[in-house]
């Protein structure tokens, strides 16, 4: 179970790679996949559904490891939009920076970004966990419904706008909170959850010095007297 299979995307198309990952791989003894020369191409490793380790060496494009189930995917470089979008389980790790909408609508699993994540990180999160070692951009965790987002650095403007039941922990500064997001007291259970996530992500961090952001739940019910002012 320790066989390694190498793919060079300068010679093989992403479609061929993904076809292998979705088919032949599942009936083989291959436990690790190494991908060279991603060259910013999109959808590398999207739709994985087996407990394999995938290492992508270089900068990759949009939708990397989208819809991931079970697999552990590591990108040794930056990624474009929507890395790990709609992830169900497993782990995706970006050693560099992530562009917009990292971990969008992830239902499960863990996304770790060692660098910064751009705007709309964790948008519409549905139960997955996102841990960012650096900063996140504006409108992160927008409409996030369930799951946890950890930002070790600073958060951009309108953090957690229209938040549902997801919880955000921020180690650095917050430019501004979005509509209906509020800072809440850190309980012992928060510190425990945060320690667990930082440890799972392999990151250092003083969990007790993070702040918790949750939903004020004032947007849950229509208020006709609010005159569209929230």
């Amino acid at each position: 179970m320790s066989d390694i299979r190498e793919f060079d995307l300068a010679e093989t198309s992403v479609r061929e790679l993904n076809r292998y990952l979705h088919g032949e791989l599942r009936d083989s003894d291959v436990a690790r996949i190494s991908v060279q020369n991603p060259n910013g191409q999109h959808s590398i490793g999207a739709g994985l559904d087996c407990p394999v380790e995938v290492e992508i060496h270089g900068h990759a494009g949009y939708f990397i490891a989208g819809m991931n189930k079970q697999a552990r995917v590591t990108v040794h470089g930056n990624v474009g939009w929507s890395v790990g979008e709609n992830m169900m389980s497993g782990q995706v790790r970006v050693k560099g920076h992530a562009s917009e909408s990292a971990g969008a609508s992830a239902h499960g699993g863990l996304l770790v970004v060692d660098g910064d994540a751009s705007s709309r990180c964790g948008i519409s999160l549905k139960g997955g966990n996102v841990v960012v070692a650096g900063d996140v951009g504006h409108f992160s965790a927008f409409m996030a419904q369930a799951g946890t987002m950890v930002v070790c650095g600073n958060a951009g403007a309108n953090l957690g706008d229209s938040l549902y039941e997801a919880v955000i922990y921020v180690g650095g500064s917050i430019d501004s909170l979005g509509a209906d997001a509020r800072e809440e007291p850190m309980e012992a259970s928060d510190v425990e959850t945060l320690r667990g996530l930082l440890s799972e992500a392999g990151l250092e961090g003083d969990a007790e010095n993070f702040r918790r952001v949750g939903s004020a739940r004032s947007l849950y019910h229509w208020n006709a007297e609010a005159h569209q002012e929230y």
């Binding site: 060259n39 910013g40 191409q41 999109h42 270089g58 900068h59 494009g61 949009y62 930056n78 474009g80 939009w81 920076h97 562009s99 917009e100 751009s118 705007s119 951009g137 504006h138």
Partner: protein, 311 residues
Amino acid sequence: MCGIVGLLIRRAEMRASLGQLAVPMLDCMGDRGPDSAGLAVFEDRVETTGLGFSLYWPGGGDDWDALLQQHRQVAGDEVSLDANADNALLTSPMSPAAVTEWLEQGWPGVDLLSVGSRIRLFKDEGHPRDIASRYGFQSLVGTHLVGHTRMATESMVSPAHAHPFTAGEDFCLVHNGSLSNPNSVRRRLQRRGIAFQTDNDTEAGCRYLEWRMREGDSLEEAIEASFEELDGFFTFLMATADKMVLVRDAFACKPAVVAETEDYVAVGSEFRALAHLPGVAEANVFEPSPQTIYSWSVVEAGSTQTTAVVS
């Protein structure tokens, strides 16, 4: 959708390869904009006097010599013409107003695409790859260029509606996004006597910025003013005779990636447009922040100027 690309060469010896490095960028971004494309290159024209006029003459590729001969009769022997299929650069000692009038009177089929001492502009309909080969982009030499691949969403597909747009001299703009108030911007500028060639939103943005600069603003000041005046989504990439300038709107939902080395600064809508560039694996690759003006100069080597605009 649309794609944008830009390349500014810092190491002088690499300027001979400007076109060669840029063609794969444009070709790759053809995926984001397959209906038309354009490119503005800034050349060192040491051997010519007078301004350069980029001309586009659909189907006129065989008759450029006739135009040159007639222009010599009014402008003298200093005139030169470098033709490339349906596109040519006319160098003339006449003023932009005089050349415009001369073209309108005698050559109604010829469009004037750009004016300046360094800019040369190409644009046409078709896949960016075909346009690059039609006009020989591979052999372009210069300090910097900006290019665009278009997927039209708000006005018709035609060579005139393709980017880059220009206004004034040695200034051009390519745009990924859409403006929502181009009609009111255009009407306000038209009342000031500014003429438009198309109903395209980007032309309104381009002429607005150039008007601000004629009123005394620097390009950076004009961009700051545009945050109040231009409504919509945009990644704007602009070039002047000695600068390449990039800015994204506050929401920043139109992408851009920058790769910077000691040798060059490259901009693309996506990293894959830059993946072939020499030394890109070691380059400083970053996503430009919203409402921040990034400005790179061909003169002052090495430094990146950024201006954060607080609104």
